[in-house]
Amino acid sequence: MDELRLYTYIAVFGTFGLYFAIAWWARAGSTSDFYAAGGGVTPLQNGMAIGADWMSAASFISMAGLIAFLGYGGSVFLMGWTGGYVLLALCLAPYMRKHGKFTVPEFIGDRFYSQTARTVAVICLILASLTYIIGQMKGVGVAFSRFLEVDYDMGLYIGMAVVFVYSVLGGMKGITYTQIAQYCVLITAYTIPAIFISLELTGNPIPQLGLGSTLADGSGVYLLDKLDMVVTDLGFKEYTTAKLGNGINMFAYTMSLMIGTAGLPHVIMRFFTVPSVKAARQSAGYALIFIALLYTVAPAVGAMARFNLMNTIEPAAGENLVYEERPQWFKDWERTGLLQFEDKNGDGKIQYVADKEANEMVKVDRDIMVLANPSIANLPNWVIALVAAGGLAAALSTAAGLLLAISSAISHDLMKGMLTPNMSEKNELRAGRITMTLAIILAGYLGLNPPGFAAGTVAIAFGLAASSIFPALMMGIFSRKMSSKAAIWGMCSGIGITLLYVFQHKGIMFIPGTSFLGGMEANWFLGISPNAFGVVGALVNFGIAFIILKTGEEAPQEIKEMVDNFRSPHGKIAAAHDH
């Protein structure tokens, strides 16, 4: 354990030192540096930065665990969190880059020639980003406390301090270059254990192929077939066909995550950092390569972790593991309370079955799968230390990107854009740093006092972005006529109905006991769960906007010309970087 602790300190503080050094080297000197990294980031670099920005603690720690227990149903996260990049690359990023502004609300305000539209967009952005960031701060706290053995509050303070140093100092420029380093750390930490485990189980070092291979035990049986057999024998749903809710729910869930991905401002902002329209198109592709490296490995990690877990507990039918002979990793995780055993039938052996009455593994937390994986596979301590550094890199990089999106919406859109338009660049930069500091403190406060709903909120953040920002951007680009009134009503009704559906299930402002289902069943609308409702909100947004457009005025001529201008790569880029 002591050797492990030493390695963990080296890995964690070594990588932190690296991030600080990069932040110092890339500190921001102008607002253009602060919001858009001076517009000089190459597509390859931007792709990596998007990868780190995008892949949060949820992707790194939770996703493979979810897949391990949901099986085929976990596919909604895999397709949902990657498919959005196709929409970004084809429908949004190139035109928004051509228009050349710093923030998403600024684009919406320009296109819909209305400060009201810009304000509504700022509110939607803050709602979506704040719900998202609570989960990240919680992840930072948990990761620090688990790996460095400090308590949760202390872990959160350390995390806040680290983010403060490099994001307030460096702005987008500092964040971009640290995210590149963080990407490298997290992808190494994710794939190395997966390669070892795949090699061990199937003899194939490439996890994506290992998942489709036969077992290395000489039986000639495919890994997935064996897994299906093992879990169904114990009464669980078949791994490769288990659904998440009904078919409509899976469809809506996937679509909500996809269009939410394309509507999340901290991701879109990253496309303002590249030098050209062509680079914006390519950035999305590079980003998806780097994301796919983790996302195609995750199903293998999930299935193999489930396989190893079942196999450890019951190596052959009826030969259950004797509790006293359980391996070390089992004991370690029992100590955290995330793994719990209760000998219900008193035979001293572990029975892990679907039937709640007979099941003796009373708690198997999904989040431990990725973290416990290296020790289950008996990998050396430095690999475990690396996983710790990787988990922290994932949480910190996403938190930094979200903080930048929030602070730029306040300092650039609200203060510079509306309240004090003649603020000097120096003062705007200062305002940006102050609002970011305040945002860190607010996020830290919410992390320390998480509203009870924190765990389930990441998916809701996608629903909010999907129902408000994504439709507004699509209509702004693909309809020359779309008017400000129609867009504003669309955004308000889209996000309104999504919030209503969520509150109806989870309580008004998430306060338990105030849900007003009143005679309606949970998921009453076609069996769609609140997390998957964003797509319905988006449809309402589109529908309301087009009805109002039909009955009211079209956008004025100069706005139509502006749309023509950003649809074509040729011609003047509207002064993003000579502000």
């Binding site: 897949i67 085929y72 976990g74 596919s75 895999l78 397709m79 990657t82 498919g83 990049y85 196709v86 690359a89 084809l90 429908c91 190139p94 994506q208 998942l211 489709g212 291979s213 036969t214 495919y222 890994l223 997935l224 077939d225 490769t240 066909t241 078919g247 899976m250 469809f251 996937t254 679509m255 050209s276 329209v277 062509k278 198109r281 390519q282 999305a284 592709g285 998806l288 390569i289 796919a292 996302y295 195609t296 199903p299 693909f478 023509d564 649809r567 074509s568 790569p569 040729h570 011609g571």
Partner: protein, 84 residues
């Protein structure tokens, strides 16, 4: 103006082609048609399951780069390349 309209129409056509493929591999093969496709095997993978957890992601990647390349050609053809 004339030129720009036809450039935009070509672009929209290309986007629609890509989005049809995007929809077929994920929502089509991965969700709606998953059961019949699962009758077919790809090594140890059932094909529908493979599309849902692997194949759709590879296709998304291919689509983005293909679109990016095709748009480069369109920019040239319609003479709307960026001034550098």
């Amino acid at each position: 103006m004339e030129n720009q309209n036809s450039y935009w129409q070509d672009n929209v056509r290309l986007i629609l082609i890509c989005l049809v493929i995007w929809f077929i591999v994920s929502f089509g093969f991965g969700l709606l048609l998953v059961e019949p496709l699962n009758e077919i095997r790809l090594g140890g993978y059932k094909l529908g399951f493979w599309f849902a957890q692997q194949g759709s992601i590879y296709t998304f990647l291919g689509l983005i780069f293909w679109y990016s390349k095709k748009m480069g050609d369109l920019d040239k053809k319609h003479n709307v390349e960026e001034d550098s």
